[in-house]
């Protein structure tokens, strides 16, 4: 795994797409949870939720671009797939917990 980490070398033309895709991993990633939460607390209309999941999909796609340009190993690919599934569930869990606390304290 260590050997595969630095080889093969990143091609010169790949630096820019890597920087851009890695930035967009986080931008789309935060848009996903942001839009999800905003819809849930009724700052946005319900149909906007579609975009939340679209942003999640774009996050995955950007991560895929970044990972393949950086030549990540097989093990890392598995980790990334699991991470993205986890990320899909994350805002649901967070909202559930927060909502629960809110309800309990409103009573």
């Amino acid at each position: 795994m260590i050997e595969s980490m630095m080889r093969p070398e990143i091609a010169l033309g790949d630096f820019l797409p890597i920087f851009i895709s890695s930035a967009f991993v986080l931008v789309f990633g935060s848009l996903y949870v942001g839009v999800y939460t905003a819809v849930k607390v009724k700052m946005l209309k319900n149909w906007v939720m579609l975009f939340a999941y679209l942003f999640w999909f774009l996050t995955c796609y950007m991560l895929y671009i970044m990972g393949s340009l950086m030549h990540v190993g097989e093990f890392t690919v598995k980790v990334l797939v699991i991470a993205m599934i986890g990320y899909l569930m994350l805002p649901h869990a967070i909202y559930y917990i927060q909502h629960q606390v809110h309800e309990e304290n409103e009573q």
């Binding site: 795994m1 260590i2 980490m5 630095m6 990143i10 010169l12 630096f15 820019l16 890597i18 920087f19 890695s22 930035a23 991993v25 986080l26 931008v27 990633g29 935060s30 949870v33 942001g34 939460t37 905003a38 607390v41 009724k42 700052m43 950086m70 030549h71 805002p91 967070i94 909202y95 917990i97 927060q98 606390v101 809110h102 309990e104 304290n105």
Partner: protein
């Protein structure tokens, strides 16, 4: 100055800390401008106030004003949280003057003596020459004494008064914050060991204990400004602490890729620093959630008024949530994986990340605290934005964003020319620095720096004036 509305001595002390912090903030920007001018015009102040000295003052003033504002924030919120006057406030006030005097002496020595001979007297009395913590050894010891006094104030008050979740987090966090400074106070001939421990101070401050501090302050601010539910806010704070420390402590690995430390830090650093943006996303979502919920509850009662009790402070808190994510998260994630970091480490990329992260994660929320103090000091019930506050916020934010983008472009040129093609030699370095894209990026950086500085002047004016303005509800 008439402190009519401040009954608490702790809050008065907080305003001293905030005032001194704001002055040092200004100094930070002035020396930043000097350094930015030198990138464009290298002969500027050559052998009078060289880049190295301007930069020491730029980054040390940054650290010092933030530490002052952080201490001030704690003194400000303690009476609110614990419902008692801070214990040992007289000593707290004395230590403020000791701290401020020590800082002035250190700055004067940096400015006028600058460097010393290669022996221990220089380390003790002039400079330690270690980035961010250049302050000489005598000042280190002084800082430890002052920090211990501050932590004692906090602990005694927390134990005697009501110990809320926010206070508990601050107690644990501040002791770690002060204790870590000790890791940066020794000399060794082995530069790998030197940098290993140096990062304990730098990283465990800015990517762990300071971030937790921000979480605690944000929690306090949300309760104060929005009337957010304490139970929700504090539970969320604990989750943030878990996420921040869980990713941040071992995220240190991303500084151990190339300093002589073993290769296993590649995997550790990559994994944990990839997780570091998560708590930042969480903090951002949390602000959104509380805002939506409280405003929603208000509107359910058919009241269309905003729930925000301090508009300028809230603006800065929202900028914090967003800026923390963008500066520390996006600009950090960019170059945190070892495959990429091999090429970006030690280029203007790091400078771009540093500018946006320190601003987004820390400057924003501390400026927010300044506004909370102005509100409290002047007995204002609902504080509105003024024209000045809107202009200053936009100019500072726009200026820092502009500098960050310019530095990112400069960093990209460096990565491609110096690192990927020329292999980081002397000539490779200067080839990258002479490219048109690089030099133009530096021109833009200077221009954006000037805008940031003008924004600061407006901010200082607003902070001094807005308390007397008639537009606020009293």
């Amino acid at each position: 100055m008439a402190n009519n509305y401040l009954k608490s001595e702790s809050k008065q002390l907080a305003t001293w800390y905030f005032t001194f912090a704001a002055i040092i903030f200004g100094a930070q920007l002035v020396f930043g401008l000097v350094a930015a001018i030198q990138f464009v015009m290298p002969s500027f102040l050559y052998q009078i106030l060289d880049f190295s000295i301007a930069r020491i003052l730029h980054i040390n003033a940054l650290v010092v004003w933030m530490v002052f504002a952080m201490f001030g924030s704690v003194y400000w919120l303690l009476p609110d949280e614990t419902e008692i006057e801070t214990v040992g406030i007289k000593i707290g006030k004395l230590l403020f003057w000791v701290f401020a005097a020590a800082i002035v002496v250190v700055v004067l020595v940096f400015l006028f003596i600058q460097v010393g001979p290669a022996d221990q007297t220089t380390i003790w009395f002039i400079t330690e020459g270690r980035e961010y913590i250049e302050a000489p050894r005598w000042a280190d010891i002084g800082i430890v004494v002052v920090a211990l006094g501050f932590v004692a104030n906090l602990f005694l008050t927390g134990i005697k008064g009501k110990q809320t979740g926010i206070v508990t987090v601050l107690m644990a966090d501040m002791i770690a914050f002060s204790g870590l400074y000790l890791a940066g106070m020794f000399f060794t001939d082995n530069i790998s060991v030197d940098q290993y421990w140096w990062w304990w101070v730098i990283h465990l401050w800015v990517e762990a204990t300071w971030e937790v501090f921000v979480g605690a302050i944000a929690a306090y601010g949300l309760i104060k400004m929005l009337g957010a539910h304490r139970q929700v806010v504090e539970m969320w704070l604990w989750i943030e602490v878990s996420m921040l420390f869980g990713s941040g402590i071992l995220g240190m690995g991303h500084h151990y890729f190339w300093i002589g430390t073993p290769e296993y830090w590649w995997e550790i650093g990559a994994l944990f620093s990839a997780l570091e943006p998560l708590p930042l996303v969480a903090m951002f979502v949390h602000v959104l959630y509380d805002w939506g919920k409280t405003q929603g509850a208000q509107e359910a009662h058919h009241e269309k008024v905003s729930v925000i009790k301090n508009r300028p402070a809230f603006t800065w808190f929202v900028l914090n949530a967003f800026g923390n994510f963008l500066g520390a998260g996006v600009w950090g994630f960019f170059h945190t994986l070892p495959q990429i970091n091999l090429y970006t480490h030690g280029t203007q990329f790091t400078a771009a990340h540093g500018h946006l992260a320190f601003f987004g994660a820390y400057a924003t929320i501390l400026i927010g605290m300044f506004y909370l103090a102005v509100q409290g000091k002047n007995g204002i019930k609902v504080m509105k934005s003024t024209k000045l506050s809107i202009w200053s916020t936009s100019m500072i934010t726009g200026g820092v964003m502009g500098m960050t983008v310019a530095l990112t472009i400069a960093g990209y040129v460096q990565v491609i020319v110096e690192r990927a093609q020329m292999g980081a030699t002397w000539s490779g370095y200067f080839d990258s620095q002479s490219g048109a894209w690089f030099t133009q990026a530096m021109d833009w950086r200077l221009l954006m720096g000037v805008i940031t500085f003008l924004g600061f002047v407006l901010l200082a004016t607003d902070l001094l004036r807005t308390g007397k303005s008639a537009i606020h509800e009293r």
